[in-house]
């Protein structure tokens, strides 16, 4: 029986972790992710989990300890935000290149500077090429559900890659909203025990983790990581199907909202997708055929699937909550536009930068984006494709 509750996104993720009962959780606090290890530490103190909880002195160390534990054969994770992720930079690549299926509960926050504690995606977007799987959530429910599914994806024998479960700082991490929790035993049965194929604490099969790789092998090692990535999409779909069986909630690589007959669409990531759905409902009442694609899996990027979903759309706005400083847009914009190009799609596409440092996005703002798409369709010209939303001029 599912349990109806009301929780913040941080508390929801902490509860998912209690239900999973991982082996090792090293942590260092940083706003707005601090509550995740904080709640989890109380579960440890109360004997509700038997996790080895390691308070460390920095994020460099929390990720290093999670990597060490994972290499030893444990199910490990840590949590962080913003500059904490930046301080893990070096280790992110170590985790991925060693094919270690550990998890990171990331609560998205703007990178400094100027120093800012609020949400944007600059932290995880900067880490998009590190070789991690990245999944994003619209609300507390999705953050919880993604966390429950995380290890099934990352530990899958065809994948064996680290996974980043992202949610929007403050907007979902600190907002109390309704949620449905699964029974503890259902989560435990779903996630299962972790039995790594090779691990350092196995005397029967000695192995080296992280040795020097000379030029003769480095490229093959990187290609090997890409091979793991190739299998992620199918595993994500398989795990989602099984998850629907225990939860009744369906997930894919991305969510399509009102896309069946959409003439114009927005592609975006995270909590603003809910706000966009309200905007779409208002526009649909006026007969405007607006739709939304909300990215769940961002790395690897489901390019051909997204291009297929956009094939009948006349104009699309791709929304980036991070700058790319390319002079022509952000990272999601680049990914979607390249997907459209390779699919020979003829939608007119523009790329908006929005919501940096927590800049609020209202239903009216998103109605304005669709209004701009309507004009683009009428004129048959995308005009300036690199735009800012909600900027004070």
């Amino acid at each position: 029986m599912a349990k109806r509750d009301r929780l913040s996104g941080n508390e929801a993720v902490a509860i998912a972790l209690r239900q999973i009962n991982p082996d090792v959780f090293p942590a260092f606090p940083i706003t707005p992710s601090t509550e995740i290890p904080q709640y989890f530490a109380s579960f440890v103190a109360n004997g509700q989990v038997d996790t080895e909880f390691i308070p460390v002195e920095s994020e460099h160390s929390s990720m290093s300890a999670a990597i060490g534990a994972s290499a030893a054969g444990a199910r490990s994770l840590t949590a962080t935000s913003s500059c904490g992720l930046a301080y893990m930079w070096e280790e992110l690549y170590i985790a991925a290149s060693n094919r270690l299926p550990l998890a990171l509960a990331l609560v998205n926050r703007a990178l400094s500077g100027p120093i800012n504690i609020n949400c944007d995606h600059s932290d995880s977007m900067g880490a998009r090429d590190a070789g991690w799987i990245q999944m994003y959530a619209e609300n507390n429910q999705e953050a919880y559900d993604n966390m429950v599914q995380a290890y099934r994806i990352s530990e899958h024998k065809d994948v064996r890659l680290p996974i980043m479960i992202c949610q929007d700082g403050f907007i979902t991490s600190h907002a109390v909203e309704n949620i449905e929790l699964l029974e503890d035993q259902d989560v435990k049965d779903f996630v299962g025990e972790y039995h790594p194929e090779t691990y350092l604490l196995n005397p029967d099969c000695p192995a080296a983790v992280g040795p020097y790789s000379i030029t003769d092998y480095y490229m093959e090692a990187k290609r090997n990581q890409a091979e793991g990535m190739k299998h992620v999409s199918q595993v994500v779909l398989d795990v989602a199907k099984e998850f629907e069986g225990i939860s009744g909630r369906a997930y894919g690589l991305f969510e399509e909202y009102c896309m069946e007959d959409a003439e114009m669409a927005v592609v975006m990531i995270g909590s603003a997708a809910g706000t966009t759905k309200d905007a779409i409902d208002r526009l649909r009442e006026k007969g405007i055929k607006a739709g939304l694609i909300k990215i769940r899996l961002y790395r690897p990027f489901p390019a051909s699937e997204i291009a297929e979903a956009l094939k009948t759309v006349k104009a699309v706005a791709i929304m980036d909550r991070a700058e790319g400083y390319t002079n022509h847009g952000g990272p999601l914009g680049a990914d979607v536009m390249s997907a459209l190009y390779r699919a020979h799609a003829d939608a007119l596409a523009v790329n908006y930068i929005y919501g940096l440092g927590g800049r609020d996005i209202r239903v009216e703002d998103m109605e304005g984006v669709f209004e701009a798409l309507k004009q683009i369709i009428e004129e048959g010209d995308a005009g300036e494709t690199y735009r800012y939303l909600g900027l004070r001029e």
Binding site: E138, E177, V363
Partner: protein, 190 residues
């Protein structure tokens, strides 16, 4: 969306405006509603103005923006009447609730011509009389529930006792004081 009620709280860091918004979300959830309770942080320090928000609805809430056109505003600290545009966007069919020892007539001139209903409560008086310390958020929570007609008093008090019993499990001696503050606030709000 006609069943949606939006509430904005103005307080200063450390006064419990965020906690009040979360408690209101809590008690509304207990009566079967869809809820949101969330803070908006400026500088993280005691005394800085902070805003907190509630959405309460019979249907799923998807919007994740701040609230600009609320039905109700709660002012936890009356010094904010001058410092912050507390009535900004406030619907005239709604109401503003101000924590003050002054009369309604003295407060109205500070509300920039707001045309809706004005309510006051002396949360300091209620808090000191019932809890012996100044926790403005408990009386204000009861007052806004009454002003906004979110639920009847009996349901509210029953759900709050259950909530306090959980929240204060390790210090049950404070439960009665908090409950007395809620009951007194119901009578005191004007």
């Amino acid at each position: 969306m006609s069943n949606l009620t939006e509430i904005r709280w103005h307080g200063r860091g450390g006064q419990g405006a965020k906690t009040a918004a979360l408690l209101l979300a809590d008690v509304a959830f207990q009566t079967g509603k869809y809820v949101q309770g969330f803070p908006e942080y400026g500088p993280e320090r005691m005394g800085a103005p902070i805003t907190a928000y509630n959405r309460i609805s019979d249907t799923v809430i998807r919007a994740h923006s701040n609230i600009y056109d609320p039905e109700y505003v709660v002012v936890v600290d009356e010094s904010l009447l001058e410092a912050v545009d507390v009535t900004g966007g406030l619907k005239k069919e709604g109401a503003i609730l101000v924590n003050t020892s002054r009369s309604k007539e003295e407060i109205i001139p500070h509300l920039k011509g707001y045309e809706g209903k004005v309510y006051t409560i002396d949360a300091h008086k209620v808090s000191m009389a019932t809890m012996g310390r100044y926790f403005p958020n408990t009386p204000l929570l009861a007052a806004i529930v009454k002003v906004a007609g979110l639920m009847d008093q009996e349901t509210f008090l029953r759900e709050m006792r259950a909530s306090f019993s959980h929240k204060f499990a390790s210090k049950p001696e404070v439960i009665d004081g908090n409950m007395a503050a809620l009951e007194m606030a119901f009578k005191e709000v004007q």
